[in-house]
């Protein structure tokens, strides 16, 4: 299967915007989601998987180009969860995180909250949706009891520009 072309500049712009957005998740409670980084036994990390793939390209009769792009990424929660309750809490945290990015209402500390707008990217690039491609699940279990829980998401955006 032919590999889809990548919007390289868009990938960088989306990575930067997403890092800011995901660290505004109201249930973080002081934690920070780091870019492609996890500590040995704990941490929250944001991992882009393949860059922003161009799914479709349309050119209008006026030379106006509209690209539909998809930027897949994972968020990994690493912890040494000992009990079933702790594991369930991690899974719920990641599922709630996904719901929040999907602009669904969530309950944090007894209050309902919701992400109403996605951040602006740059001129011409607009986020159209963020959605989960899998529910949160246990991805890796290490021998020392440390586990990586993962939720996969996909950000979609459109990029519009005029040809010269």
């Amino acid at each position: 299967m032919a590999q889809k072309p990548i919007d390289v500049q868009g990938s960088e712009i989306v990575s930067t915007a997403l890092m800011t957005l995901i660290n505004e998740f109201p249930a973080l409670n002081g934690k920070r989601i780091c870019f492609s980084t996890l500590e040995d036994k704990s941490g929250l990390g944001f991992f882009p998987t393949s860059g922003a793939a161009i799914l479709s390209r349309k050119e209008s009769i006026t030379g106006h180009v509209s690209l539909q792009c998809a930027y897949p990424f994972n968020v990994i929660y690493r912890a040494a969860a000992k009990s079933e309750t702790q594991k369930l809490t991690i899974k719920e945290f990641l599922d709630t995180f996904g719901k929040w990015l999907e602009q669904q209402p969530i309950i944090v500390n007894g209050e309902q909250t919701q992400l109403h707008e996605y951040p602006e990217l740059d001129k011409g690039r607009i986020i159209t949706s963020i959605s989960r491609s899998s529910p949160a699940h246990l991805n890796t279990a290490y021998q020392d009891g440390v586990e990586d829980w993962l939720v996969s998401l996909q950000l979609r955006y459109k990029y519009e520009y005029d040809t010269g």
Partner: protein, 182 residues
């Protein structure tokens, strides 16, 4: 040696008077991957007993389909189209003019024609991609060749003045506004 190359579609531009009378032209087609002025020629072919064909060409019924057309606040064309659709306007209220322009890459004009048209919306609505108000453009004739200034979006017909004997007295004249003198 001259090299032949295809003309990119964006160099055939279609402008419509979005005010429906004040001759303020807007470039059509940011949402369109394709647009054709369908000429729909009215042709009758009769074959006689000798097998010869007699072709009777009665003219054209030009029509163009602008679909999709996404509504945008601030667009005069959208305001006018929605007024036509909402008030179920017909007749004169739907009449405007359209200009077809072929450009070169350096944005000089190869040719430009203006035509009287009637614009009729097909509906308002669409899917979740946005509010759409697709419409059709029906040619009403009075198609005149002219000079189009792409920066000011103004059109001046090229008038030709003939003598009674058919001799061309004035050609390529743009001094007379808006009338072809024949």
């Amino acid at each position: 040696m001259y090299s032949y190359s295809r003309i990119e579609r964006k160099y055939l531009a279609h402008y419509i008077d979005e005010t429906f009378g004040d001759k303020e032209y807007v470039w059509l087609g940011d949402d369109l991957e394709e647009y054709d002025d369908e000429l729909s020629p009215d042709v009758e072919i009769e074959t006689n007993t000798l097998g010869e064909q007699n072709i009777k060409h009665n003219g054209y019924e030009a029509e163009g389909d602008v679909e999709p057309y996404y509504a945008e606040y601030g667009s005069r064309l959208f305001r006018e189209l929605s007024a036509i659709a909402n008030d179920r306007k017909k007749g004169e209220a739907c009449n405007t003019t359209k200009i077809d322009v072929l450009l070169k890459e350096d944005m000089t004009i190869v040719w430009a024609y203006r035509e009287d048209v009637t614009v009729i919306p097909d509906g308002i609505g669409g899917d979740t991609s946005g509010v759409q108000i697709p419409f059709k453009i029906y040619g009403r004739g009075n198609r005149v060749k002219g000079v189009f200034d792409i920066s000011t979006k103004t059109f001046k017909p090229i008038n030709t003045v003939y003598a009674y004997n058919g001799e061309i007295l004035i050609s390529n004249n743009t001094a007379y506004a808006d009338r072809v003198i024949v």
